[in-house]
Amino acid sequence: MLTKRIIPCLDIKDGRTVKGVNFVDLRDAGDPVELAEIYSRSGADELVFLDISATEEKRKTLAELVRKVAAKVNIPFTVGGGISSVEDVDILLQNGADKVAINSSAVKNPQLINELSAKFGRQCIVVAIDAKQVNGKWLVHLVGGKVPTEIDLFEWAKEVEERGAGEILFTSMDNDGTKAGFANEALQKLSNELTIPIIASGGAGNIQHFCDAFTKGKADAALAASVFHFKEIEIKDLKEEMRKERIEVRL
């Protein structure tokens, strides 16, 4: 059986980890490569690096980081943040990234999904969708959730699947940062309506939340940042609990 995946997410700015990490065994808490190695050893199934820097040097710095991570880490990783062209993706994959995540650029130019999928294969194209409920409707938001659109989450998800996305990374902005659990109803609806894997994001606060995302939300993978960075949840403990709940997991 295919296992459910646990994915720590690292926010990167100018080649360094930001938003704080609290690892006593780290020499340098800002070094994404060192953090990636620790996560890979502690049982993470995959990693996501989200680049939030906006400098002109960004592309070069990110490519260098990807190369360093690929040299050290023997599990798959995805890179996202400001990717908007075939050329951007080509550079990241050539340096050793396994997948890329696109978000706002896909909404602005949906044809980009088709182009990337045709050139690199759908398996390495993750479309990230940020959404929140407005008057009972799940609406897609852009630029890290700051800019609302009129686009319906479920319609957009269906469209990106048809255009060639290999996976969907769904972040519920209503849940993100609350530590009150994932958006399981929306997750389940996505999972039932789509035939590509769904990664749940936003709301992880305890181990039960992850279990619920898989059992109630029918997610294929769950992503979180701070609960792992601040060691509120150890991946090993999480996976042992998942196994007790009869969720397929790599231990």
């Binding site: 059986m1 295919l2 023997n74 994959l93 590509i196 294929d220």
Partner: protein
Amino acid sequence: MKIVIIDYGAGNIQSIKFALERLGYEGILSSDAQEIKNADKVIFPGVGEASSAMRKLKSTGLDTLIPKLNQPVLGICLGMQLMCNWTEEGDTTGLGIFDVDVVHFEKKLKVPHIGWNRITDLKTPLFKDIQENEYVYLVHSFYAPVCKETIAKCDYGVEYSSALKKDNFYGVQFHPEKSSDAGERILKNFLDL
């Protein structure tokens, strides 16, 4: 030991090169026929779409070179699929090394098959010191059914070939370079053949 990774523009070969480095070996990326022939071990990678990958192999003559190689050859993912007779992806004729046709997963399953899954019925020294039910990382939408050349199986709605072997040719559907320590061990086993 001279290890050549066949370079035909097929996606994520940097990861394989890095995995070899972690094991203490250097992998040379090459599309040169003489260099490939002279290698002790040949790795045939592949990520992407089958018909366009096959066109690239044909345009460089690698399609006739690869089946004639005598040293151990390891096809990875699409590389393994292209070593089969035929693949449903783009209705593509393969290199005909493994006597099996590659087909698409049933539509009722989530495809691509992405993530970690168990490998079973492990045969040959490629899986030396690898436990039955070990987890490996996979990303694919097409699969080779179980056949007489199967040396490892995986179950995703259907039991299929996770690895194949014929003579000096090996193929793995999973990504050893991304399958944590077990994957690195399998790569090491290949280098030790």
